[in-house]
Amino acid sequence: MESVVKLEVQDYHLFYGDFRALRGISVQIPAHHITAIIGPSGCGKSTFLRTFNRMNDLIPGVRVEGQATLDGQDIFEVDVVELRRLVGMVFQRPNPFPKSIFDNVAYGPRAHGVHERARLAGIVERSLRDAALWDEVKDDLGKSALALSGGQQQRLCIARALAVEPQVILMDEPASALDPIATLRIEELIQTLKQKYTIVIVTHNMQQAARASDYTAFLMMDEERAGYLVEYGPTRDIFTNPRHKQTEDYITGRFG
């Protein structure tokens, strides 16, 4: 099937000062699909993910080489604040704000200028429905977000990200802090989300990558501790017919 390229990096390098964390990565992320990034711990998966919404800019001394684009536009030429709206992120550990459920989801829209109560309520409901959380919280949106369970909090964070209408959703091991049942619900949710959004998900759980994603990128660390791309392609190919031995070793669990 022909896919439209949503995000792309070409020969992308990232440095912390003199230390190279990512080396020469080139990848095309297709729109409306789920792309998984897998690899052993510490190889730079999260760092690579954070490239797409420029969260790495927050680290002092960070330097970047190479190209990174969103719909063909260089993301480093673009207003970073607007980029982060278009490219949303869900973090490894749920991080709801110490506010009510409603205020958490409404935070983004409010920040972007939406203030009418009715409109906010509509956005909140729609986002919570899309995140499969509405039915569980609809009776008490004023409750503190911190009172929710881990899985609910994570879905709340997803709803919060959806509320600002992004094009892409980045997920950094979104279920790793959750129990298996909650994890399953998140995976189901991600499948429904790809219809509207482009999803890039980092995971160290290979079964998850294998069953949940359409494309997979496998990263590893070289001798200088820089992360590089070993192999990238449709998930089915990567898992049943990998081209590199390292990929096969990792997938079959020989290391990592």
Binding site: N53, M55, L58, P60, V81, E82, L83, R84, R85, L86, G88, M89, F91, R93, N95, P96, F97, P98, K99, S100, Y107, G108, R110, A111, H112, S144, C157, R160, A161, V164
Partner: protein, 293 residues
Amino acid sequence: MRYIVDRSMRALLLVSALVSIFVVFLILVFTLRAGLRAFREIGLVDLLMGRVWRPGQEQYGILAMIVGSVFVTILAVAWGVPLSLMGAIFLAEVAPAWVRSVVRPAVELLAGIPSVVYGLFGMVVLVPLVRRIPVPGNTGFGLLSASIVLAVMILPTITNIAEDAIRAVPREYKEGSLALGTTHWQTIVGVILPAARSGIVAAVILGVGRALGETMAMIMVIGNSVVVPRPLASNPLTIVLSQARTLTGNIAVEIAYATGLHESAIFATGVVLFVLIIVVNSLARLLMRGRRR
């Protein structure tokens, strides 16, 4: 043998620990006892509401001092808190590392300068400046000069503690907000400051307590006339040019030569000051609990 040492050291250390409550207890008892005579003979209402303080004529009303203390503190808070909080936000979120390495020690140094030095500076520089304001009866000494000096003195206290509170806010909140496409400033206002609220309030309370308790610098610039502050001219704002006397100033200035009922009245002033500070602390704590959602 060493078990004997161990036991005795434990006992000794316990005694040290108990000394602190012992001291608190002593202070409360002594001050209350010494002030009791004044409360009984002068009466609580006459003492607190009396406008005239003339020991020579057995008149002991400390209303002027209560108003003086409260007023100068309110003014100092009005000048000092916004500046302090802005400084705290600046240091915690905006200043680059090298700027912070200059400003933070500067603020800490401000905290260490003796209060009499501030008082001296106020006397020699600030008072003549304020005296220039063309209002009849304006001596330069008064609430305005005193509140400015006080604001400078409480600034480091509030800034340091508020800054620590802001820095203590978990990074995840900040990252979560930025990832939604908000600006840094929006993140500060929308997430960081609300999360740091209890620490910031604690900082302000501390500042207020410090302001209420300041003595020597106040004596040096506030004028010390026993008068309930009132506007000097038709413009109500000129009330800040009025002289005043603080509760602390009242104690320090008169205790050395006071005897009998006079002395007791001074201790009563101390009790009133103590109560005022406790009330402020409790009020603020109540405010914090009420808003916790």
